[in-house]
Symmetry: C2
Subunit: 209 residues, 2 copies
């Protein structure tokens, strides 16, 4: 019989290997959702024995939380960049709605719907979910505050309105995911609703679709 086909070992610096494992896990989560993150699936994707994944991660719960945080981090960064390129507050709010509802984010909608569901049984994930929600809220709140400063918007509670906008948009994306429909067709109407919430003149928040 042939010799036992043991995997050829490649020894790497711990930091490098740890990064590879996180990267493999992140790729799986993006393609198949957080619930596809198993010790063995991550190991295979990283080209590594299952024990090594466990060696670099305190637990799978922690890995899931970490991957969730990384993915949302990246998304918030993307949106911050898009939105930051627009000067006018009303246009910026429109760009936010456009970007979050452009239909290119289904993968991430899967991640957060699963994340919210799994958070009930994974404390680390629950903390990550709450932390990332606050990042979103801060971003949206600052847009609203800018608008209030220029007079384009008018609300006494920008923070609360920010929470409301985020909740609305998330819900619409989740619904589109569940129904298998396109989320872009909600964008224009969502802009109208947003105007009412931030106290902007009707029609002043532009969306591309």
């Amino acid at each position: 019989m042939s010799s036992t086909s043991s995997r050829p070992r490649t020894r790497k610096a711990p930091a490098e290997r740890a990064a590879e494992i996180i990267a493999a896990a992140t790729a799986i989560a993006r393609e198949q959702g957080l619930s596809a993150l198993t010790l063995r699936a991550v190991a295979e994707r990283a080209g590594v024995a299952s024990g090594l994944v466990a060696h670099y991660q305190p637990s799978m719960d922690d890995l899931v939380a970490r991957v969730y945080a990384d993915l949302v981090d990246e998304e918030v960064g993307d949106v911050e960049r898009v939105v930051g390129a627009v000067a006018d507050p009303a246009a910026r709010l429109g760009a936010l709605i456009d970007t979050l509802m452009d239909g290119e984010r289904e993968e991430l909608t899967v991640v957060w719907v699963e994340g919210w569901a799994m958070a009930r049984r994974n404390d680390a994930l629950a903390r990550a979910v709450r932390a990332q929600m606050e990042r979103w809220q801060t971003l949206v709140e600052s847009i609203i505050e800018d608008g209030c400063r220029t007079g384009a918007f008018s609300t006494s509670e920008p923070g609360e309105v920010a929470w409301e906008l985020i909740g609305m948009i998330d819900g619409l994306n989740a619904q589109s995911l569940a129904r298998g429909t396109d989320t872009t067709r909600f964008a224009a109407r969502t802009a109208r609703a947003a105007e009412a919430l931030v106290g902007a003149r009707p029609g002043s928040v532009p969306v591309s679709t």
Copy 2:
């Protein structure tokens, strides 16, 4: 040693036993979510051997879908009753928002967040989710159409606006669940957004909080 403490058997009519099993499963789902629905957990709750649950259900996937449908069915019925007791369309829309955001529905928010997540791996559940979404949409659409008829509202796409309202409200409930905050504080603002969407006079949709 004592005799093997075999469970005392109680023989019941199949329809009755099947109903008990569904009831046990529904109770678990309400208290702990859909993901707590395991063959053994349902059996224990129903006071029955695990094999009997399998005997009355084609598969656990089907049971989960059935329970989801039953729970949402009941909720839609409740809301229909509350909303049906109000004559004026604007007041009726306000009653809808009030009821769906009264903070008494956390259990059901858990069920549908989990449902949407699990639907990706359970076809029967995915069908149930879509079917129940359409029940909601029909209910909301009829309210909007009534308002258009009386002139209280004005929109050319009541069906689309209905989808949008449902998505918004679901998203806000889910967010409140994830953040551990109260959803009632969104009700008034949601009414303002709803007015913009259905084309009602600002302030014409009343909410109690």
